[in-house]
Structures are given as structure tokens and as C-alpha cells.
């Protein structure tokens, strides 16, 4: 695949990751701010919402940027392997940011009556387990691309 096609592929995946890591979570948390239960308006506290939004946007931008470099790099190249590994590591931090930003213990006030807490720590930890396996395979890829660099290049030239 030529360089322009790789660039287009990188831009497409950057867009996909922007939607998945920034747009959808922000829409979800914005929706939760205006939800009502049994006729009572419930409210995600402003401080909590701002903290969650900050970390989602910060790590989402990093992941999207890395996705561009990962998917615009030539197939089976060391560059692709390195960026893919960095991207997964940032993905882990992104998931973990849900924990330290307070998004895993979401407190929603029910006007005048009390509050609801959603604790999704267990879900985040299971995701972290999957990411651990992904890190393992990305490291494996990187080693594989480095060891077989010559044969991969020859195969690419033949294509």
C-alpha cells in the first residue's frame, strides 16, 4: 500500500478512535447529567463531570494521535509495532483514568432525597485484564517484526 493510502487509513482510524474514546463517553456522561428517576431530576455533580471530561479528552486525544501513527505505518513494520504498543499502554492509562477521575464511582445526586452511586471498578479491572493480553501480543509483534525484519521487507518488496 502506498504512502497516501496509509495516510488515509491513519486518518480514518484516528477518527474512529476519537469517536470511541472521546465523543461517545462524553455524550454518555452528558446524558447522565440530565436523567430523571421516578420524576426526580438527578444530577452528576459539576466537579465530578469536569474531572471525568478532562481525563477522557486528554487520554482520548493521545490515543487518537497514536492511532494515526499506528495505522498509517507500513504493515509489519517496527514503527507500526512501537506505536501499537504505545497506543495500548495509553489505552490502559485511559481505562485507569476512569478510576482516578472518579468515573468508576459515579455519584449522581437525586434532588433533595439522596444520591445514586454506580461502582464499575470491577468492569474496568476486567478490561485491564484484556489490555494486559493485548500488551503481551503487541510486545510479541514487536519482537517478531524485529527478528524477521529482513524477510518481511523482502515480502513487502515482492508485493
Amino acid at each position: 500500500m502506498g504512502a497516501p493510502k496509509n495516510m488515509v487509513k491513519g486518518l480514518i482510524f484516528m477518527g474512529i478512535y476519537t469517536v470511541v474514546t472521546i465523543v461517545i463517553p462524553l455524550i454518555t456522561f452528558s446524558y447522565m447529567r440530565v436523567l430523571s428517576i421516578q420524576g426526580f431530576a438527578i444530577e452528576l455533580t459539576q466537579e465530578g463531570y469536569e474531572s471525568i471530561s478532562f481525563w477522557i479528552i486528554a487520554f482520548g486525544l493521545l490515543i487518537s494521535g497514536c492511532a494515526f501513527f499506528t495505522y498509517s505505518s507500513p504493515k509489519q513494520s517496527i514503527r507500526k509495532g512501537v506505536f501499537a504498543l504505545i497506543q495500548v499502554l495509553i489505552n490502559c492509562l485511559y481505562m485507569w483514568s476512569y478510576k482516578f477521575s472518579g468515573a468508576t464511582d459515579i455519584r449522581i445526586d437525586i434532588g433533595g432525597y439522596g444520591y445514586v452511586i454506580l461502582i464499575v471498578t470491577q468492569l474496568v479491572l476486567v478490561y485491564m485484564g484484556v489490555y494486559f493480553l493485548t500488551i503481551a501480543i503487541k510486545i510479541y509483534d514487536l519482537v517478531d517484526f524485529s527478528i524477521n525484519r529482513q524477510s518481511i521487507r523482502e515480502a513487502r518488496w515482492q508485493d
Partner: protein, 170 residues
């Protein structure tokens, strides 16, 4: 194809299946929350009102509080380990002047087990062992309840707690 590539593909398919399963569980959990919360009749704390009985105001009488919780689980997963933590505070006047005293006369947790998806149930919290002050007190008196309902959802991956604070149930 090299052996390394085969191993890599097996691992990738395994990870893809895991990720897809988790994503499905997460999405169904979110949809369940929307289904349950969109109808006010699905969660009723308390259902049918409270019931507090005492014959004569005083420490040696029979006290009884009943708090029914009605839950209609219209989501995609079972509701597990449903618990209700009930704490009752009493405000009373024992001297006849304007001084108001406050004491916790009941605090306990009851576990109601699981509620399967698609089913509904009314769980009754019955409180009988109260720690009532050892002296007679005069009216007026007030009861304030702190109620916490908690349960696990989405294959026990999500824990939710509903806290109702300082609810006047006099």
C-alpha cells in the same frame, strides 16, 4: 504461513472475542439501566408506603417498622445480592421544653438474594429490635430514615447503590 503468525492470529481472535463479549455486556448493561429507569414503577422505595406501629409512646412497647421495596427487573441481567440497609433515627422531646434529642434506634442490613431478569418482586424489610431510650418521652416525635439499596448487575461487574437520606417517615 509461519508458526509465529498462526500463534499471533489465535491470540488476536481470543482477545477479539473477549473484547466483543465485554462490549456486549457493557452495552446491554447500559440499555438495561435505561429500560429500568425510564419507568418510575420499576423501582419503588418504598412500595406501598411505610408501616410504623407502636401502641403507646414509651420504651417498653412493641415497635415494628415495615419497608417494602418493589423492583421490576426489565433489564437483560439478573439482579444479584440485593441488600437493604435501614437506619432509623428518632427525634424526641423528653422534658416538655423545646429541647429536641436525636438518637438512632435501629440500624441493620437485610439481604434479599437475587432477582432474575424479567421478573418482579416486592421485598419487605421488617424491623423489630429497636434500641429505644430507657425513659418515657413526650410527643411530638419524628422518625427519619436513611435507606441504602444496593445490588450487583451486569454479571456482577457493576455495583449500584441508592442512598436515600433523612427521609421523614413520621
Amino acid at each position: 504461513m509461519r508458526t509465529a503468525r498462526v500463534f499471533r492470529w489465535i491470540m488476536r481472535i481470543f482477545i477479539l472475542l473477549l473484547t466483543a463479549s465485554l462490549s456486549v455486556v457493557t452495552i446491554l448493561g447500559g440499555l438495561s439501566a435505561v429500560n429500568i429507569l425510564s419507568d418510575p414503577n420499576n423501582i419503588q422505595v418504598p412500595a406501598q408506603g411505610y408501616s410504623i406501629t407502636s401502641n403507646v409512646i414509651g420504651p417498653n412497647d412493641t415497635w415494628y417498622v415495615n419497608v417494602p421495596i418493589g423492583i421490576n427487573n426489565v433489564g437483560y441481567f439478573d439482579l444479584n445480592n440485593l441488600e437493604l440497609d435501614f437506619s432509623l433515627e428518632m427525634e424526641f422531646n423528653s422534658t416538655g421544653d423545646d429541647s429536641i434529642h436525636n438518637t438512632t434506634i435501629y440500624n441493620d442490613v437485610q439481604n434479599f438474594g437475587n432477582l432474575q431478569r424479567g421478573s418482579s418482586g416486592v421485598f419487605e424489610f421488617n424491623a423489630t429490635s429497636f434500641t429505644v431510650p430507657s425513659f418515657h418521652f413526650l410527643e411530638p416525635y419524628e422518625f427519619r430514615a436513611n435507606i441504602t439499596v444496593s445490588a450487583y448487575y451486569s454479571l456482577d461487574l457493576i455495583l449500584f447503590e441508592i442512598h436515600i437520606i433523612d427521609l421523614d417517615i413520621s
